[in-house]
């Protein structure tokens, strides 16, 4: 139904190059997520796919068809925006129907599609209301509904959950995952929240200053990050980076995830003092000032009775140590 191919996409705003040659292939039915810090170009990339930005050079193919210069409405896409972007003066129903009307779809076809989307998103009670009379979560469902009725080749989501509160965010996340399974549609999703990326994606594209750092499934990125940036970006709390020479290891930098360190009050590899302890119930995070390795974060599962100023010993799981060379690339052993 919908595949996407990007060939060497470049985009400059004046002298500033925001996308520096992006190559990507998305297969039919895949859920691909772009993550990266603010200003990494992920939104610009999404808007280039949508046709809302002209690319400076490169080719965009949707379903094998070159759409680089096609207007947004002719690309077979639908987009959900962070700010919902509903038409304020139209009812929920008309919000969903406008695109189809504009395309000259027959009225009964519009009715069937709107009805289907309404049912899928449980929007029946709200069809006659205006966006102003809806809550944030309902508005975002209408925005998703507006995308659904277009029956696009490609769904584009631009940080759709960022404006929702925490509880609603989890709920809507589950809903989007369910939609993806139900429709089997190709979806491209931009977020800066790695939890959304890890939980929703078939594949994650990690972007940093206009360059793809790594593409892979969530577990690939977690277990085999290609470089320091990806290793630091994926996983929370962040991976510990330690200068290899300080602890007598090979390579330039050693990376150890907080959850791959064990702690003992009596013996271990890095002796340190607890600076701060966070008790989350399911997890306990310890921040240690160690003698050899500097500042180290440890994530322990379950409850532990450590508190500030305790002296503890932390030991990394030898099998789960990441090594990076002086350019920040992972050394494959």
């Amino acid at each position: 139904m919908g595949s996407l191919e990007l060939r060497n996409i470049r985009k400059s705003f004046g002298a500033q190059e925001v996308l520096k040659g992006i190559d990507l292939e998305v297969k039919d039915g895949e859920f691909v997520i772009f993550v990266g810090p603010s200003g990494c170009g992920k939104s610009t990339l999404l808007r280039s796919i949508a046709g809302l930005e002209d690319v400076t050079s490169g080719t965009v193919l949707i379903n094998g068809e070159d759409v680089t210069v096609a207007p947004p409405a002719k690309r077979g896409i639908a987009m959900v925006f962070q700010t919902y972007a509903l038409y304020p003066h139209l009812s929920v129903r008309d919000n969903m129907a406008l695109g189809l009307k504009q395309a000259g779809t027959p009225a009964d076809e519009i009715n069937t599609r709107v009805a289907a989307a309404t049912e899928m998103l449980s929007l029946e009670p709200y069809l006659k209301r205006r966006p102003a009379e809806l809550s944030g979560g309902q508005r975002q469902r209408v925005a998703i509904g507006r995308a659904l009725v277009r029956e696009p080749e490609l769904f584009l989501f631009d940080e759709p959950l960022s404006n929702l509160d925490a509880a609603l965010r989890v709920q809507t996340r589950v809903e989007i995952a369910r939609l993806h399974r139900q429709l089997g549609a190709t979806m491209i999703y931009v977020t800066h929240d790695q939890v959304e990326a890890m939980t929703l994606a078939d594949r994650i594209v990690v972007l940093n200053s206009g360059v793809i750092e790594q593409i892979g499934s969530p577990m690939e990125l977690y277990n085999r990050p290609a470089n320091l940036f990806v290793a630091g970006f994926i996983g929370s709390p962040q991976m510990n980076f330690i200068e290899a020479a300080r602890i007598g290891e090979a390579g330039a930098t050693i990376g150890i995830r907080p959850e791959h360190l064990s702690v003992s009050p009596t013996e271990g590899r890095f002796k340190g003092k607890v600076i701060h302890a966070e008790h989350l119930g399911a997890d306990t995070n310890l921040y240690l000032e160690t003698e050899t390795a500097g500042l180290v974060t440890v994530r322990l599962f379950g409850e532990h009775r450590y508190s500030a100023d305790d002296i503890v010993y932390a030991t990394p799981d030898a099998a789960k140590i990441h090594r990076f060379d002086e350019n920040g690339r992972t050394i494959v052993s």
Partner: protein, 279 residues
């Protein structure tokens, strides 16, 4: 407003100031209207007194209405004002949308150039305008007035509207583009409804000077068939004798059409429908 930020003294001071201003602003209007209902003697004898049984007179209104042409004058004023407002809003909004929405070379310069009109009074160009109108045969037509007033109103309209258009969410316009709306449809169906309060503001700002203007009707369209109300009222002002009853009656009548237009626009000012579009 919350109680915490409200002090009785401050609120009452604000109200005193506002009421004082209202009185000062309304006093001339009030004076015009009450005196238009008085006999000539009473206007000069007791200008501040309300019309009583002995001083009440409709002679001013009779004179104005007998003057027959006043209906035409009102018609002319209304046509010129309404058409000018329409053109100012249409072209002003379109130019503002272009300046606010599209990145093109010279965008800022163009914006500045259009804003200069706010600072330079159009009357400085009267001679050239008259020459132009004579050359195009537009003297003594309402078209001449409409053209001049449209030009006069555009700079401020563009300035105010482009500021408002920048506040319309980009996502909303992009959602329209994805739904296949043309740029015109986005302008007319999405952006204009959202900047309606600003349009009403501009309409009011544009309307008052046009309705009250004496200068251009006197110079460009002084003919009997194209006179506006303000110019028509001058008929009663002579070098030696002025028919004050008629002048005041004509001015009182001239207030009402503009008042009606103002009420129409000010309802738009209050009705904000932007909420719920984004966020």
């Amino acid at each position: 407003m919350s109680k915490a930020r409200q002090s009785k003294l401050r609120t009452s001071l604000v109200h005193v100031a506002l009421i004082a201003y209202t009185l000062v602003a309304l006093f001339p209007v009030f004076l015009t209207i009450i005196n238009s209902f008085k006999s000539k003697q009473a206007i000069f004898g007791q200008p501040l007194r309300l019309p009583g049984p002995s001083t009440f007179s409709l002679i001013g209104y009779e004179t104005v209405l007998k003057q027959g042409d006043f209906v035409t004058y009102f018609q002319n004023s209304t046509i010129v004002t309404v058409v000018s407002i329409f053109l100012v809003l249409l072209f002003g909004a379109m130019a503002a949308f272009a300046l606010a929405e599209y990145r093109f070379r010279g965008n800022t310069l163009m914006g500045l150039y259009l804003a200069i009109g706010i600072m330079i009074p159009i009357r400085l160009g009267t001679v050239a305008l008259l020459q132009g109108m004579v050359a195009t045969g537009l003297v003594n037509t309402l078209t001449a007035l409409v053209l001049v007033y449209t030009a006069q109103g555009l700079p401020l309209a563009i300035f105010i509207l482009s500021e408002f258009m920048r506040t319309v969410s980009d996502d909303l316009k992009n959602a329209g583009r994805i739904d296949g709306l043309s740029e015109y449809a986005i302008f007319f169906r999405l952006v204009l409804p959202l900047v309606r309060p600003a349009m009403a503001t501009v309409a009011v700002f544009t309307m008052i000077p046009i309705w009250n203007d004496l200068w251009f009707p006197l110079i460009l369209a002084p003919g009997e068939s194209t006179k506006t109300v303000t110019l028509g009222a001058q008929l009663f002002i002579g070098q030696f004798v002025t028919n004050w009853n008629a002048v005041l009656a004509a001015l009182s009548l001239a207030i009402f059409p503009v008042l009606v237009l103002y009420v129409i626009f000010s309802r738009q000012l209050i009705r904000g429908i932007t909420s719920g579009a984004v966020k």
